[in-house]
Symmetry: C2
């Protein structure tokens, strides 16, 4: 069974996330259809993550596999698939998958970017890709709060309630907030993320750094109680930026 690794980017606004669902427009379904057309046979497409509805990606990794896939030169594969894909999805790179490679289980970590448009006035160019937050955020305070998350800790408090995961220990490698004009851009990498984890972390930091009274981050973490953390930031500000293997 042969396989190609594809690095893809997509604007998630018009998709019900990555994963195939009946009657729904998903990125996986679009890629499966496009790749099957290009290879001229049935293909399986697996992804590195199940991104939620409205979440974007700049470095999503997918594996296209199938029995007897024809050989297509790697240099022309991205363009060939792109011509079959809708405009809001693009294949950026292609490589040959080694035996046993799995986009999700082989991943050592991921990096997400979260963009907050911190202004009383909205930006018509980022309504789909940033969370508009009107109250001023103290970005250096936000960045200090981010540092409290770094390290190997139990992040149960930052997992969507109702999740069935029992081991919520994850290692956050880095988590930073920087101002870029009216935007505050969060970058976070970890060996893995719990459901809604980045969005709850960002929601909590944004609230705390803009005047909402919350427990200290360390105490929220050690409480292991979702109710002590802040709001879940909206999906549209989130972008899966990189996957590490």
């Amino acid at each position: 069974m042969q396989g190609y690794i594809l690095k893809i980017a997509y604007k998630g606004t018009n998709y019900c996330g990555w994963q195939v669902q009946p009657e729904k427009q998903t990125v996986q379904a679009a890629l499966q259809t496009a790749a099957a057309e290009v290879f001229g046979c049935k293909v399986d497409v697996t992804g590195c993550s199940r991104t939620d509805s409205g979440v974007h990606a700049k470095g999503f990794v997918a594996l296209v596999s199938g029995d007897g896939l024809p050989d297509i030169p790697l240099s022309s594969l991205p363009l060939a698939i792109n011509t079959k894909l809708p405009e809001d999805i693009a294949v950026l790179e292609a490589s040959v998958a080694e035996e046993g490679f799995h986009p999700r289980y082989s991943a050592k970590g991921k990096e997400y970017i979260y963009t907050v448009h911190n202004s009383r006035l909205r930006d018509p160019f980022s309504t789909d890709t940033a969370w508009q937050f009107q109250r001023p955020i103290d970005v250096s305070h936000a960045n200090e709060l981010c540092q409290e998350f770094v390290g190997r800790q139990d992040f149960t408090a930052f997992m969507a309630s109702g999740s069935k995961i029992t081991d919520a220990v994850r290692e956050i490698k880095y988590f930073n907030a920087v101002r870029e004009g009216d935007n505050i851009v969060f970058t976070v990498a970890a060996d893995g993320f719990l459901y809604n984890m980045v969005r709850i972390m960002v929601g909590t930091v944004v609230e705390a750094a803009s005047g909402t009274k919350l427990m200290p981050i360390k105490d929220i973490i050690s409480s292991r109680e979702r109710a002590n953390a802040g709001i879940t930031a909206p999906a549209k500000g989130l972008t899966l930026n990189k996957v590490f293997y």
Copy 2:
């Protein structure tokens, strides 16, 4: 007759340009409706320019006027109007208009930005706001070509054929091309622009700086023949950035 000057931004993708047209969605119509709701009376809205369908703006200037407009504090006016506007239009600033001010006729010049996504692979995040051009563009050559346009010249060759303007002399203050990642960003300012002028200038420079044989820019200008210039770059890459008064 009282008037407020509004600086507005809009993503033009879903509009048939600025100007009111029967049965069409336009930015002027949207602003007129929103402002009338906020002021509670009929208002006139005039703009600094008639942007085309799909063209964007970050610093468009509009005048809202009417007899007996109620006083609304300037600091709350942008937000008040924004709540009545669709998400792809935003009022950024408001000020009181001096008697006789006209957004178009009082303007001393304008600055446009044009974005080219110069890559074989499309960017799903800029399909509405950049022109994807696959062949490599030599940006330093492009920037040299831009300089040939600077100054007071007759730009008949860079005006959409069929335009009825008789005096095509305009003064270009500056015209630059810089690379930002995979994008090439053109910035151009002039005392005024002919119909499609920026788009034809950019189309010509992009073609010439990517291997298409064209006459030297100076010769195209002096020929006063539209046919000697290059293609008209698509509307979606163009943004009205500033108006000078």
